[in-house]
């Protein structure tokens, strides 16, 4: 027992030494911590890597966890910038002002088409916003695939896949599809990540889920969306998102407390530059014009 404890102590000691050792090497560098949106985590990581190549003195640490986590971290002071796929709410802005002394500042850094995913064997090709609201909305009538389309009737009960309740994707989808005055129907299978939604839909023939279009795989199908039943359905593509024809396209934000200064300012300027926006396009998101 005591022998094990010693080994443990030595292990911890070495670990802390190695950590301080690392810190010492880059003593002159600055670290920017960017936390938040799971939708943006891939693009944020790619920005960080690309930026490190150009500017090795500045290190950007990217953490996921969801827009809610990013915004609460920003308010709690545990990150320098929050990635968010939804807007900060008035209440959150007020809390930020109160806790950090300054208003949060919003930077739109790209756009993302929110795709509606079904299993690849689902015969459905398109869906309207109204139908989505009947499936996902509180009090909505659609419980079975037969209520959506005759072709898909054999799939039985609809398995609704949703997100944790403070995710930016969750909040945006609620606003865009259900409207401001309506809640989600409870009983959806809630996932904690964009990728998890797509993975679960891929494994579940009767599932429907929503997630950023950058997460598409061969195992799932993205539905075309129409604004209302009978209107033409539009596929989620970069062009359709750019032109505004695809109805559920949302801005991706970075929030800072007050106007950014120093390294953070340069980093955001670089993100908005041609080089930064190329990363956005490369990863399947829509660049800022």
């Amino acid at each position: 027992m005591s022998c094990k404890m010693w080994i443990g102590c030595i292990g911890v000691g070495m670990l802390s030494l190695s950590v301080t050792g690392c810190g010492g090497e880059k003593g002159d560098g600055t670290t920017i911590t960017a936390t938040g949106s799971d939708t943006m985590v891939n693009v944020a990581q790619a920005w960080a890597e690309e930026y490190a190549k150009r500017n090795p003195k500045i290190k950007v640490d990217v953490n996921g966890g969801g827009s809610g986590r990013g915004i609460s971290s920003l308010i709690n002071g545990t990150c320098d910038m929050a990635n968010a796929s939804r807007k900060m709410e008035d209440k959150e802005r007020a809390t930020c002002k109160e806790k950090r002394g300054e208003e949060p500042v919003e930077h739109v850094v790209g756009y993302d088409a929110l795709a509606v995913y079904v299993h690849k064997d689902n015969p459905l090709d398109s869906i309207s916003i109204e139908q989505l609201a009947e499936i996902y909305g509180d009090g909505g009538a659609s419980e079975n695939w037969s209520q959506v389309s005759d072709a898909a009737a054999s799939l039985g009960k609809i398995v609704r896949v949703s997100r944790q309740n403070n995710s930016g994707t969750y909040v945006y989808f609620r606003e865009a599809v259900l409207g401001k005055e309506r809640d989600y129907k409870l009983g959806s299978v809630d996932q904690s990540g964009s990728k998890d939604v797509v993975a679960l839909v891929a494994r579940t023939p009767a599932a429907i889920g929503y997630s950023g279009m950058g997460y598409a795989t061969d195992e799932v199908k993205m539905l075309k969306i129409s604004k209302a039943k009978g209107e033409p359905a539009v596929a989620p593509t970069v062009d359709n998102a750019k032109s505004g024809a695809y109805p559920i396209t949302r801005p991706l934000h970075i929030y800072t407390v007050g106007e950014p200064t120093g390294a953070a300012k340069e980093y955001i300027e670089w993100i908005l530059s041609e080089a930064g926006q190329k990363v956005v396009t490369d990863l399947g998101y829509v660049p800022v014009q």
Partner: protein, 312 residues
């Protein structure tokens, strides 16, 4: 010549004894502090959880809605609702399913290890079961998600593989080691004279287990089961991965559910310190703490029950 030597020796011995007594005292105090620190930590944890939940618990919380509404909508724009019924039922039904699987297996294994095997088999089994207890929660989660879920879909035709049954089996596997080790201790504590008396009356081995050992060790076995229940209620990571995390009062084994612990795990990081949602999550923490506290206390009292019975 002889006298001074002995007096020096006596003095040395005296000083040495004195220092030994001092050392003894110091060690005694150190150990006492260790013991008290456990109590201190428990109280401190309760204090901090309660302090965060207090603004909601003491004012403003509608207890009737909290315990009887299945609507958990903390981030609603229309009207936030804090009803934990579905989550509570989720956690309890999960513990129920887990125990339905774990108790027969756990007690069976305890009986086998304590009564039916010896030597190498016994040692090997004990080591393997301890290894089972050492598997990290997240690894169990992976087993549920990638091994059990497809099997459940294939065998039962369930729409989703992550559900009450999946999580129940995973949590059962996690509680079995606790049930086995405490159950085995309880069986071992039954004096051999009981077994000998039963044998001399011509009882078969099964009759000894069923008619003699179970009644004699019932308190210990009950405690083993209760601690297993505590484990099932408190488990978080594996539960989050295997239940489907769906706010839903289950009607069948194949329904996805959501547990209290998993709700705290996914939502706490998304909330701003001190706001209503944060307080509601800490209130769930208080509920969980109370449940596990009562279970553990009952288990302790039940075990105490054996001791006093035996000494009487």
């Amino acid at each position: 010549m002889g006298i001074p030597t002995t007096s020096v020796a006596a003095r040395v011995r005296h000083v040495w004894r004195l220092s030994e007594r001092l050392r003894e005292k110091a060690i005694e105090w150190a150990i006492r502090i260790c013991g008290w620190s456990a109590i201190f930590f428990v109280l401190a944890i309760f204090f901090f959880v309660f302090r965060e939940a207090a603004p909601m618990l003491l004012g403003g919380l509608d207890f009737k809605e909290f315990f009887t509404s299945p609507n958990w909508r903390p981030t609603s724009q229309v009207r936030p609702e804090y009803g934990i019924l579905a989550l509570l039922v989720g956690s309890l039904s999960l513990a129920g399913v887990a125990m339905a699987v774990a108790v027969p297996f756990g007690l069976g294994a305890a009986v086998f290890i304590s009564e039916f095997c010896g030597g190498k088999t016994k040692e090997t089994l004990k080591i393997v079961i301890e290894l089972l207890a050492a598997v990290p929660s997240i690894v169990w989660g992976f087993v549920g998600l990638f091994v059990l879920a497809p099997l459940i879909v294939e065998w039962t035709g369930a729409q989703v593989g992550v559900n009450l049954l999946n999580a129940g089996i995973v949590v059962a596997l996690m509680s079995v080691p606790i049930i086995v080790s405490i159950g085995e201790d309880a069986l071992k504590a039954v004096p051999d004279s009981y077994r000998e008396a039963a044998l001399s009356l011509g009882a078969s081995r099964w009759e000894i287990v069923y008619r003699v050992l179970f009644p004699a060790a019932k308190n210990g076995l009950l405690a083993a089961v209760l601690l297993g229940v505590g484990r099932a209620i408190g488990e978080t990571m594996a539960v989050l991965m295997c239940t489907g995390h769906s706010i839903n009062i289950p009607h069948s084994l194949l329904d996805p559910i959501r547990a209290l612990t998993a709700t705290i795990a996914t939502e706490l990081g998304d909330t701003v310190e001190g706001d209503e949602h944060w307080q509601a999550l800490f209130t769930i923490g208080v509920v969980l703490f109370t449940i596990t506290f009562v279970i553990n206390l009952t288990a302790d009292l039940v075990v105490k029950g054996i001791r006093s019975e035996k000494s009487a």
